[in-house]
Amino acid sequence: MKEIFLLMFSAIFIENFIFARFYGCCPFLGVSEKPDTALGMGMAVTFVMTVSSAATWTVYEYLLLPFGLQYLKTIAFILVIAGLVQFIEMFLKKFVPALYSSLGIFLPLITTNCAVLGAALTNIQNGYNFAESVAFGFSAALGFTMAIVIFAGVRARLRLASPPKPFKGMPIALLTAGLIAMAFMGFSGMRIA
């Protein structure tokens, strides 16, 4: 239990997906104009990443390993993730329309979010077992959500500021992300896991 907790803490703060590993930077920069949409994206990613960590681990352990097909893991994982996202979209549309109307538009974008594939591959690379994989997927996604919501909050304020002209738009946003990343470097002093 203690290991799982340490792993989760490390995935959220120390090895934050955005600020330390750079997984999922496209949605981080693309869908962070408003805090509410950022939160919606974060929740959709959390949902998909938890489920996909479980699914890809199972596929790897029981399908690819026994047949010696490890080299196919990139293709297999991306197909599992794409199928899963499609399935989740249909499931939510049919059974939980309220959730679908808030998360629906983000779901197709998640297939090409490298955070999801990155988490799946990291699970295998680090040799996590099933519980650790699910915990890692869930907490890494929480770290992603936290990062994107903080960043969206800062960006909402940035719109009122007037930076030098060449810095307008993306450059100043990236600079802010750099400053937040610097703040997160403070966590790297904590060696727990």
Partner: protein
Amino acid sequence: MEKANNGFKRLLTQMKSGIIDNNPTFVLVLGMCPTLATTTSVTNALGMGLATTAVLAFSNLFISLLRNIIPKQVRIASYIVIISGFVTAVEMLMKAYLPSLDESLGVFISLIVVNCIILARAEAFASKNKPLPSLIDGISIGLGFTLALALLGTVREIIGAGTFFGVPLFGDAYQPAQLFIMPAGAFITLACLMAGVNYLRSRKR
């Protein structure tokens, strides 16, 4: 002769558009994960850029060849399968011939699959154009990406480690600003380079 000349001119315009006017990193702001993550040194940046270029060129070519066969409803899934096939090939080649580069790029080689540049070019260009222009488009966009990565890698390696291609530049007394090879430095360097590109573009007009 005249015709060949025209074709060559068209090719040059297309190359220029891919490398400069539509530079995937500085202008379109696509494919940010590898841009930020793998530019800690020039060698890594070039390796990543060229690997992406290879995948982009071949996937563009094959998607364009298959553009009339792939049904519209499942096109994205088909593109992903084609792309991940080439990524796996690149991954295996790199493991065999460039093990040290493979080691330092790690998971990011596999993550070329989800690089938005590749899917964007497949959807926006290769699915609508003939094979040869698609191949050229893939190569020029890829080179634009490689150039941007190499630029970022150069700045970060020189400031952050005091080396260029691993060769020390300033002697022993130099204390490198390690911030620049850390994640925060990636964001800051990219922001400054992007602002510089914006400034140059606004002056040209």
